[in-house]
């Protein structure tokens, strides 16, 4: 078991004929992901190393039966690509594109939530997600990861997602699903969404959550963990040393006045019973203790 994607998930790639789109489509397929098609209005009818290219998402869905998409198009075209995917009925829209204007994100998030409630957006500006040994959509370097659980991973940052996978792999700990929700201000999928899915997944016995400064998603997650979660959670929050008012790489990673600090997030998580580490390596060590005690 796993969350969101598995060995049967059929995936299309919007933007498959771009340099990045082609690279990651082929890389994901090489991992074993069922990449069944791509979309590029100008190159419909061709193929990318055997992956058929369609004129529209609707065509691709009709011909392949895909239920998930990776949106890897330039930022200016991302909003219409996401809406097109929702209109075609896709259940999971993984938007890896970075640099999307925040008003575009706010509009497509709300439009999809209201008009296409069966579609879920992951991202934008996220590294994607990986169910180890079954399906990889996006950028996560999956080779090191050990399959089968018992740990689920959810993270706002890309490289810290990889770091978490690596820390667990070095300790011989397996992972069910690893989700990068992205660091933008309007993430389509939240920590809480992932925590709820992991709580319901029988093969996930514990969860690593890597957060960062900015917003209040970690505090909201702490509230959820305290009231709704039975499985142990280990966390690390990046940005203890971040000065107020500066965007730390991610558009969403900013301390505004006294709000969004790492300290406040760590305190909220500790109060909810989460084991909070001060660095990613220490989080891996804490998780090894948790797994040893399962």
């Amino acid at each position: 078991m796993s969350i969101l994607v598995n060995a049967d998930t059929k995936v299309i790639v919007q933007g498959i004929t771009g340099g990045q789109g082609r690279f990651y489509a082929l890389r994901n397929r090489a991992y074993g992901t069922k990449v069944v098609g791509g979309v590029s209005p100008k190159k419909a009818g061709t193929d990318v190393e055997g992956i058929p290219v369609f004129a529209s998402v609707a065509d691709a869905v009709r011909e392949t039966g895909a239920t998930a998409t990776m949106v890897i198009v330039p930022a200016a075209g991302a909003a219409s690509a996401v809406i097109e995917a929702a209109e075609a009925g896709l259940e999971l829209i993984v938007a890896v594109t970075e640099g999307i204007p925040v008003h575009d994100e706010a509009r497509f998030y709300n439009q999809v939530a209201r008009d296409f409630p069966s579609s879920r957006i992951l991202g934008p500006n996220c590294p994607g997600l990986l169910t180890v040994g079954e399906c990889n959509i996006g950028f996560i370097p999956a080779e090191v990861a050990k399959p089968g659980g018992p740990v689920g991973i959810v993270s706002r940052s890309g490289t810290l997602t990889y770091q978490a996978l690596n820390e667990l792999a070095q300790k011989g700990i397996g992972v069910t699903t690893c989700v990068g929700i992205g660091g933008d201000p309007v993430p389509g999928t939240s920590f809480i969404d992932c925590l709820a899915l992991f709580e319901a997944d029988p093969d996930t016995k514990a969860v690593i959550m890597f957060g960062e400064i900015g917003g209040s998603a970690e505090e909201e997650a702490a509230d959820f963990i305290r009231t709704k979660m039975s499985k142990p959670v280990v966390s690390y929050i990046a940005g203890v040393t971040a000065p107020p008012g500066k965007k730390m790489g991610h558009a969403g990673a900013i301390v505004s006045g006294s709000k969004g600090t790492a300290q406040a997030k760590m305190e909220a998580l500790e109060a909810a019973g989460v084991r909070v580490a001060t660095n990613p390596t220490a989080a891996g060590e804490l998780m090894a203790e948790v797994v040893g005690g399962l």
Binding site: A106, Y109, S157, Y162, A238, K246, A251, N279
Partner: protein, 382 residues
């Protein structure tokens, strides 16, 4: 990107929001000319991106040209909380009957827009929120539906402004919303929004932050480039396309990915050191990008050691190592370097680096060990 008040007012004016007649000045003579054009009395306002200008003496009323010369002369070059005043805004002084507050921003929890309106303006809105939260009328706006005039009118009534201000406030708020969405701003704020004794509603200040991600559809923003950077290091890094934030420590930090770069700063702090900067070179780590990053760090005189923290993901360890070695050939580095390389093919990468190791270039297998070594090196050279 935060705008100065005068830039914010120029933006407001383009959206039809009433602002006082005025102009920006960089010299005393320009200030006098601007004052003559605006008509006395005028207000001379320091243009800095920091609160508390008034208390610091950066806002003065002038009745005539001599007073403009006096105040502009004092304010230009003044240091307000580390921000040196390079420009003043001169505008015709307004008579004020009442002061309000208005803003639009994103409510990240609700994933909707949030409008805030208060009859208690002219003070920091955080203070009002702490001391008298009921004095702020909040309006949640669905980004798909937008703000309708009837919703706006109800909102204004809830804020209990003077009834004489209702029509003017509704008009300004509709235009301000347009400036927020159409103008691709992260924040638009008017504090104070004033009611004059004649019953006119008017923006006396302007705080605007623009969304850098929307630059591709705003060619007019090009003229704003470079004005907002106060840190010379940040300016240089921005020119090289690097994600850089200057900090006040001695350990220069280079990492790939925003989260890992923050974590690297944190771990330096955790083992007793202080990071000199946050620097994210992005997912890959090509020789050229690494050379650019090293150059920026090398130009910072407070740096005593450098901590390069790379997680090889898609980019394999040996490519990262080769990139670092080539970059070191391109830039003569003053400080010793500690490298922690992990991830895909990390062993191959470390093998390459081992051929170049010395007391100036050290490789460590974990973040914690690398951070300790970098901090020790920085202390030894301080």
């Amino acid at each position: 990107m935060d705008l100065f008040e005068y830039q914010g007012k120029q933006l407001f004016a383009r959206y039809g929001i009433p602002v006082s007649k005025g102009d920006v000045a960089e010299t005393v003579d320009e200030a006098v000319r601007a004052a003559e054009a605006a008509g006395y009395p005028v207000v001379v306002k320091a243009q800095v991106q920091v609160g508390g200008r008034g208390k610091a003496g950066g806002i003065k009323l002038a009745e005539n040209a001599d007073e403009v010369r006096l105040h502009a002369g004092n304010i230009l070059g003044m240091d307000i909380k580390g921000h040196v005043v390079k420009r003043v805004w001169i505008e015709h002084a307004s008579d004020i009957a009442e002061e309000y507050y208005a803003s639009f921003t994103l409510d990240r929890s609700a994933k909707k827009y949030l409008g805030m309106l208060s009859a208690q303006g002219g003070v920091e809105i955080e203070t009002v929120a702490d001391e008298n939260p009921d004095a702020i009328a909040r309006l949640s706006i669905d980004p798909v539906d937008g703000l309708t005039e009837s919703a706006c009118r109800t909102w204004v009534e809830q804020a209990k402004l003077n009834p004489a201000a209702t029509d003017g406030a509704v008009d300004i708020l509709m235009k301000l919303y347009n400036a927020y969405v159409d103008g691709d701003a992260d924040l638009v704020e008017i504090n104070p929004l004033i009611l004059t004794p004649e019953g006119k509603v008017h923006a006396l200040d302007a705080k605007v932050s623009l969304d850098e991600n929307a630059r591709f559809r705003h060619p007019e923003w090009d003229e704003l480039v470079g004005l907002e950077k106060t840190d010379a290091r940040e300016f240089e890094a921005a020119e090289k396309g690097l994600q850089y934030v200057g900090l006040d420590g001695t350990v220069g930090v280079i990492a790939n990915g925003a989260g890992l770069a923050m974590a690297t700063c944190d771990i330096v702090h955790e083992v007793g050191g202080r990071p000199a900067n946050f620097l994210d070179i992005g997912g890959g780590a090509s020789a050229q990008v690494m050379a650019n990053a090293l150059e920026v760090i090398n130009n910072d005189p407070s740096v005593r050691s450098i901590f390069i923290n790379i997680f090889g993901g898609i980019t394999k360890g040996e490519e990262v190592a080769n990139g670092i070695v080539q970059a070191l050939d391109q830039v003569a580095i003053a400080s010793p370097i500690v490298i922690r390389l992990d991830g895909t093919n990390a062993d191959e990468g470390r093998a390459i680096l081992s051929g170049y190791e010395s007391d100036r270039l050290v490789s460590k297998p974990t973040m914690v060990e690398a951070a300790r070594t970098a901090v020790e090196m920085a202390e030894a050279r301080s």
